[in-house]
């Protein structure tokens, strides 16, 4: 098994785990972590595409563009996580709950 295939499968597994966690698991913090797993899977996939080459600059063996995309993506994912955790902390301070599900009924 080549390294590209191995990392590709790892990326796919991370995406699968993350998706499962984001959709199924209760608790906002778990979902935020699941989102990060999912994001890591996608970034790994970008890495695999960079390693495999064949993108913009053919013949150099590896492609720098996806690496640049990963860096930007990491910054965005970090900002998203920070925003989510800040919101969750504030929600915990206000209500003592760590998820948004319970208030659906009280909203009516």
């Amino acid at each position: 098994m080549s390294s590209v295939t191995l990392f590709g499968l790892c990326g796919a597994a991370l995406v699968g785990l993350g998706l499962y966690g984001l959709i199924v698991l209760p608790g906002a913090l778990r979902r935020i972590i699941a989102f990060n797993l999912l994001g890591s899977g996608v970034f790994l996939l970008f890495g695999v595409i960079a390693r495999r080459g064949g993108g913009v600059i053919a013949g150099t063996g590896s492609d720098p563009v996806p690496q640049a995309l990963i860096i930007t993506g990491l910054v965005v994912a970090f900002a998203a996580t920070a925003l989510a955790v800040a919101l969750l902390r504030r929600l915990l301070q206000e209500t003592g709950r760590d998820d948004w599900d319970e208030d659906e009924r009280s909203d009516r």
């Binding site: 906002a28 994001g39 996608v42 563009v65 919101l87 929600l91």
Partner: protein
Amino acid sequence: MLSNLVAGGDRLLVLALILPVASLMLAFVLGGRHAERIALATLPIGLAVAVAIAAAVLHGDAPLHTDLGGWAPPLGVALRADGLSAIMLLTTAVVMVAVGLFARADFQVPPGTTESRAPFAFWTLLLALWAALNAVFLGEDLFNLYVALELLTFAAIPLVCLDGRAQTLAAALRYLVFALLGSVLYLLGAALLYGAYGTLDIGQLAARIGGDPLEPAALIAAALMTAGLLAKTALFPVHLWLPPAHAGAPAAASALLSALAVKASFFLILRIWFDVMPELLAQMAAQVLAALGAAAILFGGVLALRQARLKMLIAYSTIAQIGYLFLIFPLVASPETAPLAELRNAPGAWTGGALQLVSHACAKAAMFMAAGLIAASLGHDRIRDLGGIGRALPMTLFAFGIAGMSLMGLPPSGGFMAKWLLLLAAMQCGQWWWMLVILAGGLLTGAYLYRVLATALSTQGPSPVLVKPVDRSREWVVLGLALISVLLGLVPLSSFSLIQIGRDVSGIGVGLP
């Protein structure tokens, strides 16, 4: 002078991005009362830039295009404004100006203090939202569009929980998780496309995808990106986050979110299926997207009927109206679509969809702001207890009513024109089932608006006690926006030719085997 405008058109595109970002940074640094002044000063300039871009596209009869920094794709990032982009930029600017004028009274720094949290956050986020929307409407690079979508999310989420109540915090958190799931799926799709075709530029991708036999990666990528964007657009059945988020936000913020923020991700779905993917694939996807849209129209309408609070009703109405947008997919992609001579032989469904985008943006922003005025003056927005508000706030209610007229699709209004063009297209393609949905949706809209208006206009009982008087100038802003959504229906059809510039929709479905 107009030809100068066309020549400098590419610089206008850059200006449309830089202006709100520069104002945002200035407002952030100076803070306090300056944030509001800077935002208000940016509004007319931004509107002028949007008008100039639309004029340049219309006059040049070609899309504007620029490669940032002179770097050509696939290494560089391109910006492009075709007719639809120009119209979206213009709509955004008009709604921004109206919301900005409306929000002045709500988001003033209280006298005696130098800075307070809510006004500072609102004015900077308004500019951030504007920058993100312009980036989405002008973007030509799929990864750049991902960043724009995330900027939009980061600007929209704090707007939801501006007042800091626990309920709105929970709504914002739920919105954020849906939005993040959506953007990461979109990014995964972009990664697959890059892996398969080695470019993220929409024009280059379209050429490469169209040239080869379709790779399975492209199909999976399109499905992932669409699923992600649907979650952000709040199409049924991933709409759950929208009503609490849009109804809980302050009125001015709700107007921005409902009128503009959900349209950005819809705009990208349009671009993926009509600009990136080959036509045959678009036809297959079209039926699925429209079926979800039809479900949204019916489901959103029925749920809106059952709401007890006015802002919740308007939020569910947004879900239904988003459904209409998705009906354009099968009607534009259908091989039997007959071109309309008034529209440069382009299918009417395309113009109908664009009109629905614009008229819903104006009407919905007006309705949310009218509901905000009613809620502020009564101290609540329970529909049951709105009795007689028509006598106390006649102008607000009039604006609410005519905006509702456009949503219902009563002539003469922009909404009527949009729905009539969609109906006509459905008839021409022989897809009569969409006609039933459009008509049923109109009836449902009429029913839930009747519930509000019948109570509000009742002449029985005493006049309601107003907790707070309503500022006349804010009523004028709401009325102005509602009037725009109606007056769109009075403009002759041929003047909508701007919508067709830069996209060969007349060819869609014609050259198929």
